[in-house]
């Protein structure tokens, strides 16, 4: 019945975020500009000033304040939102840990951008990946539709009593943030039935007569217990994310697969693993390779935290080889997703970790196909190939 109100419209990713925030009936927004995120908060400001969105909108003095204020609002029971990117995210860093440690449920969009020097406004996943160990749930969108959908899904996940953790939604700078795609905007009624309004008293009760302390001094054991409880919440989140995605599918007709999306994985002998928007490009590469007879599939990580360990090990068992493309690097260790995936790759399977596309360097579907083909041919001629850290740029695969 709700489908009557669905509209197809062309939106850039940043506007999709703003519309999703509006439809999620967010009540508190903190804004601080940084390219390529800025348009998100500008659009929200416009919605609030026009009276289309009834929310407290605060122009804060820094990203540090943006996250602090968002955390405060969410602590006191409001559905809250902020957005940032790159240097802004790093400037928030202390609060990132505090928000997760205090188990405050809200959503932050991260328009992924490289971290200088040199100054570079183009995409890279390293910014959002600095949040890895903090206790945030971290997701990455593939396209504008999914960006919209993830924001809506994330409030359900964050506010689930089994989870109660903040969620970061990554959308790649310019590639998603500034590119218009046709997307389906749902009916408000459907969003409301999918996303009930927030219980303002969970996890904290701000009520007259209620006295308590949050974040005070505790014993070492106390600290460790809270970390263990947060890890438990992360484990719960795996189930919640899958449930939420299935429920979303029932109402909106789009289901993504939970923590991972499987693209031509069933009969694949070689598996590509990636996250973010270039997964769309890799899907094209998979299609090219399929046409040429290569049994290749793609496992796209929709979530980096919790890390989809189960999905990965399930899907890669028995394949001949796994190749991971990282648009990030942990200097001194290599591609982050490659290093996190590696433990699940069987001894006899080939494995390549390829770092590419840093700072927005483009990789086309043809180039992806070529690298994957090199991987397959090295496996097939040698029977086995293991390279933890390769780089790819402008037609060349190289090792240091």
């Amino acid at each position: 019945m709700g489908s009557m109100g669905r509209v197809k419209t062309a939106l850039i990713g940043n506007h999709a975020v703003a519309y999703a925030v509006k439809m999620a009936r967010v009540k508190f927004i903190a804004a601080y500009p940084i390219t390529p995120q800025t348009i998100i908060v500008e659009k929200l400001a416009e919605m609030v000033e026009k009276g289309e969105l009834e929310a407290e909108f605060v122009n804060v003095e820094s990203e540090f304040a943006a996250l602090s204020a968002t955390m405060g609002a969410a602590m006191a029971g409001a559905r809250a939102f902020t957005a940032t990117s790159s240097h802004g995210l790093l400037y928030m860093y202390e609060m990132i840990w505090w928000a997760a440690g205090a188990r405050v449920p809200f959503v932050m969009a991260v328009a992924n951008r490289a971290i200088g020097p040199p100054w570079n406004i183009h995409t890279d996943h390293n910014d959002i990946l600095t949040m890895r160990d903090s206790g945030w749930i971290i997701s990455m969108a593939e396209n504008v539709q999914e960006t919209f959908d993830l924001i809506i899904q994330s409030y359900r996940i964050a506010e689930d009593q089994r989870v109660l953790l903040p969620v970061a939604v990554g959308l790649e700078g310019f590639i998603l943030s500034h590119t218009a795609e046709y997307i389906e905007l749902p009916d408000q009624w459907d969003v409301d039935s999918f996303l009930p309004s927030r219980d303002p008293d969970k996890p904290y009760r701000f009520k007259a007569g209620e006295r308590y302390t949050v974040g005070g001094l505790g014993s070492d054991e106390n600290y460790m217990m809270l970390k263990i409880a947060a890890e438990k919440a992360m484990i719960n989140a795996e189930q919640v994310i899958n449930e939420v995605d299935r429920d979303f599918g029932k109402i909106f007709g789009r289901e993504y697969g939970g923590l991972v999306e499987r693209y031509k994985v069933d009969d694949a002998k070689y598996l590509v693993i990636s996250t973010g928007s270039w997964s769309g490009t890799i899907k094209q590469a998979v299609d090219i390779l399929r046409d040429e007879g290569y049994p290749v599939g793609l496992l796209r990580l929709r979530f980096i935290r919790p890390f989809p360990s189960m999905d990965i090990s399930k899907n890669i068992s028995g394949v001949r080889g796994v190749i991971v493309f990282d648009r990030d690097i942990s200097l001194g260790r290599g591609g982050i997703i490659a290093s996190e995936t590696q433990p699940y790759v069987g001894e006899s399977s080939s494995f390549w970790g390829v770092v590419a596309g840093l700072g927005g360097v483009d990789v086309s579907s043809r180039e992806f196909a070529d690298v994957i083909k090199m991987f397959i041919s090295e496996h097939e001629s040698n029977g086995f190939s293991r390279r933890d850290l390769l780089f790819y740029m402008n037609g060349e695969v190289f090792e240091l």
Partner: protein, 303 residues
């Protein structure tokens, strides 16, 4: 709108409980005791890093019978912004949202969030309990530390930078309420808290809080030192509200310099000024005179 309180009107109930982890003679606990009574425990305190993060005690115990949110050092005014806005959305009146911060948090690391929240006129009472140094980390100089004072980061020569005039800076943010207070004048502080709570918007109260180990005086003398600061004119109690700036009653007579006790009497009790040079003493005295001139002029402008 004046708020006059008699001693017997102050609640007997305690909201800052005995058995906390503060040093003997801790001024923060004196201040928190008054805050608790003023709002009968119905306040939400947002406390950044500092002694006040530690002294309430260890989980599951606490000596503060109020809602207390401990937050990172620089973040308190911004967190309070979010809390206050969320409470507005909820339409619930559960007492004021109060930032209770040290001078390090206020003058230095949290200055941007303080200023940002003030210009947005957030509905917050901001109290800086000023012990003129970073006490929790062991007495390092802050933007509030008095000229000439020795701290562990100004160990031999004493501090050579002037202190930041935070009250004047806050006044120029054009917020509705700015006041100074002192733990030695609990009724004055209590009245200012009540008055502030009746005003909407950003309210700033600068509480004078001498710290025994940090200033190196005997822990029985906290209140005496705080009173001497007023009696020597070194600490001026004033209030800016409803567009008017007035010197508060306990300080009024000290506008007349001849009525003030000698500055030396105040400084001599403090180990941090031991052996201070005549020259530095003169500089401090000049600073105090200048503060009086500024405040008296402002009281004429905002009259």
């Amino acid at each position: 709108m004046s708020v006059k309180v008699r001693l017997d009107q102050i609640p007997k109930e305690k909201y800052s409980l005995p058995g906390n982890a503060a040093c003997p003679g801790c001024p923060h606990m004196i201040g928190l005791k008054i805050v608790g009574k003023a709002f009968r425990g119905e306040a939400t305190l947002v406390i950044p890093a500092g002694c006040s993060s530690i002294v309430p005690g260890y989980h599951p115990y606490t000596s503060l019978d109020m809602r207390v949110i401990h937050v990172p050092f620089a973040s308190a005014p911004a967190v309070a912004t979010g809390i206050s806005r969320a409470l507005k959305i909820r339409g619930e009146d559960i007492g004021p949202v109060i930032v209770w911060a040290g001078d390090g948090a206020t003058f230095d690391i949290g200055f941007a969030t303080l200023s940002g929240s003030a210009v947005r006129n957030e509905d917050i009472i901001y109290i800086v309990s000023d012990n003129e140094a970073y006490m929790n980390t062991g007495v390092q100089a802050s933007g509030s530390t008095m000229y000439g004072a020795r701290t562990t980061t100004t160990p031999i020569l004493g501090k050579k930078d002037r202190r930041k005039e935070i009250d004047l800076i806050m006044l120029m943010h054009k917020i509705p309420y700015v006041a100074t207070a002192s733990i030695a004048y609990p009724l004055d502080f209590y009245e200012k808290l009540l008055k502030a709570s009746k005003i909407k918007g950003f309210r700033f109260i600068h509480l004078f809080s001498p710290c025994p180990p940090g200033w190196r005086f005997d822990d029985s003398k906290t209140v005496e030192i705080a009173r001497l600061a007023v009696e020597t004119g070194a600490w001026i109690l004033f209030e800016y509200a409803e567009g008017k700036l007035t010197i508060s009653p306990p300080s009024r007579i000290y506008a007349d310099k001849s009525k003030r006790k000698p500055l030396r009497e105040y400084l001599e009790l403090q180990g941090r000024f031991k052996g201070i040079s005549e020259e530095d003493l003169k500089i401090i005295e000049e600073m105090i005179d200048e503060n009086w001139r500024v405040l008296e002029t402002l009281s004429k402008i905002y009259s």
